[in-house]
Amino acid sequence: MKRSFCNSLAAGLLAAVVLPGVAFAADYGAVFPGILMDKVIPPTGKEAKPQVKTNRPLKVGFLPTAMDTYYQRVLAGVKEEIDRAGGPSTIQLLVQAPKSQSATDDQVRTMEAWINERVDAIAVALYNEGALEPLIRRATEAGIPVFLFNSPVADDPYYVSDIGYDQSDGGRAQAQWIVDNYKDKGEVKIAVLEGLPGPHTAQRMKGFNEVLSKYPNLKIVAKQPAGWVRAQGLTVTENMLTAHPDVDILVALYDEMALGGLQALKARKLNGKIAIVGYENMKEANDAIKVGDFAATVDTGAKEEGRNIIRAVEQFVMKGEGVPKKIFVAPKTYDAKNIGTFDPADYIYVAKNTK
């Protein structure tokens, strides 16, 4: 135990000296298609160092904050990329999900188990600022590289790479769609369904406000929390419509809430009349755009995020090459005009049938 601690300390020190030079040298675009290089930040030097592990299968832990539609899509990307890399005989995937979004203690238990089991890499989604930092440090010191995904607040110095997208880019994309379609339409009233108070809500709203605030005719008249869930999306929308029956646009920071809002609009025969702008491009939201119930939604590249996790593992743990500290892609907005271009296969895991 003590020795391995000393070893990893030495490794950490070594990495601190060697890595900074490496990190910016490579052209990451080839490995991670669509990576936004302007989001990349310099490493702190405390990360695990790249390594060439020859044991097969490589054990990789996958630990989302909960299992839901979004993470299922990420997982589909992870699995497809594993198939591409050689299948389960090359990378063995361990999946664990806590029972609810805020059960950080469940994540702690899983991380501890994986560290004790000496897995080869861990990919984890953080819910809170500072969450799991001690565990990420322990894993790093034990020589296990930790990759983050879909974590709005990657603020500790130990993780190797943060994979996903910028949450505020998601909010920006929603706002930009509104600007593009409504900036010349006089006064436009917007109601917003937020999630539970926390970093996801805060960052999405930050990007949203940043864009929208430049257009004084686009006004947020109501902004209320609906707990990320459909049932509350429904009731809160009803209640907001009572206070503001003249709303033009309903924005939800997650499609689940937007779908609840759609139920409320349907009951008042307002679907299609009040524009719903969702977030996540869930399958149902996608269908709703096609029939005109939704105006737009923002796809945050969930499946690509999953692919990038495995790509990063391949680079860092198998090939021993450095990876950027942030591997972010740009969210994409879909509305009636371009919904046809979306490939529905992006929702599901497509098994590789030819070797």
Binding site: K99, A231, E238
Partner: protein, 325 residues
């Protein structure tokens, strides 16, 4: 004592009987008036319809929980049962079953969950808190196993949609269902032996046993009723959302207990006010509606809701003091 005085006494006691919920009703009226002043739209017919429609999911379960709590029991499994049974209805319909069959199956499963709770509490004699908490976790877990966290959607059958979204005249279907449920449970609680037995068990379990009440049977029946009502609520919610959500009903167990206790039913058992429970459930919906309408800052929501629960219980204590002594 003169007959006049006797009559007066009877009137007073009758008033008290129906006024068992006086505290919560006062709190509710005060809140409604205050919100009506704060926002002119609050008292619109549309909004009041919305509020009742939002209150029904908690209210229906709380009617059953009123009996459980009056019996000195507790049921923490209702939220999970709601989600589980909603899922069953949705899944059966997606597999092509007739909506009525699917709903009936869902209600049967809810009742069964209640029966299992009841048997474990009354026959195996495990603490109700533990039994229903375990049931809560198990059913929620089964939901996750089956759905992997993804909602079940595509419930386009119009007669199923009508259940949660339709109107009968100007009364929303779910509200009508709730009123009928209220009437049925009211009848059970105040007009039948079953109700007497339930309250007797809560009042003095040993005395109840010694007057020949089959305590285990009554307990199982009360839990079964609550399971049935949780399923009814689950079906309504699923129909309302046109989707069965894996996380549906999370935290309902506490909302339900809050509604019951605010309504004046004591956790110590023995007394129940079904009218108070209904008022409690409506009060919770009014508070949330008011917060949304007044656009209260997100961060304050929980604080306000908690404070209103405390105030309502205090109002009931104050309003009910004469009853207790």
């Amino acid at each position: 004592m003169s007959t006049q005085a006797l009559d007066a006494k009877t009137t007073v006691s009758k008033f008290r009987l129906s006024g068992g919920a006086s505290g919560i009703v006062i709190a509710l009226i005060v809140l409604i008036v205050a919100l009506g002043v704060a926002s002119p739209r609050f008292l619109s017919v549309g909004n009041l319809t919305d509020i009742t429609r939002q209150a029904v999911f908690v209210a229906i379960i709380a009617f059953g929980a009123t009996l459980v709590i009056a019996m000195r029991g507790i049921d923490l499994s209702v939220g999970s049962t709601l989600a589980f049974t909603g899922l069953i209805a949705a899944d059966l319909m997606n597999r092509g079953f007739n909506p009525f069959v699917s709903v009936a199956a869902s209600l049967a499963v809810g009742t069964l969950i209640g029966i299992v709770n009841g048997v474990l509490v009354a026959k195996v004699r495990i603490a109700d808190f533990i039994v229903t908490m375990a049931m809560m976790v198990i059913t929620r877990g089964l939901i996750m196993v089956y759905t992997e966290g993804i909602p079940l959607t595509g419930l386009s059958n119009p007669s199923f949609q009508a259940f949660g979204q339709g109107f009968v005249g100007f009364v929303p279907m779910p509200v009508l269902v709730t009123i009928l449920t209220f009437a049925a449970v009211y009848f059970l609680l105040y007009q039948t032996r079953f109700g007497r037995y339930t309250l007797s068990i809560g009042s003095n379990p040993e005395a109840a046993r010694l007057v020949g009440i089959r305590i285990d049977r009554v307990k199982i029946a009360v839990y079964a009723l609550t399971g049935f009502l949780a399923a009814l609520s689950g079906v309504l919610l699923t129909s309302r959302l046109e989707a069965a959500m894996p996380e549906a009903g999370e935290g309902y167990e506490l909302d339900v207990i809050a509604a019951v206790v605010m309504g004046g039913t004591s956790l110590a058992g023995g007394k129940a006010s079904l009218l108070g429970t209904a008022a409690g459930a409506v009060l919770m919906a009014v508070v949330r509606n008011g917060l949304n309408i007044l656009n209260v800052n997100t961060f304050w929501h929980q604080v306000v809701i908690g404070a209103i629960i405390l105030l309502a219980v205090c109002a009931d204590k104050f309003g009910g003091r004469s009853r207790d002594t």
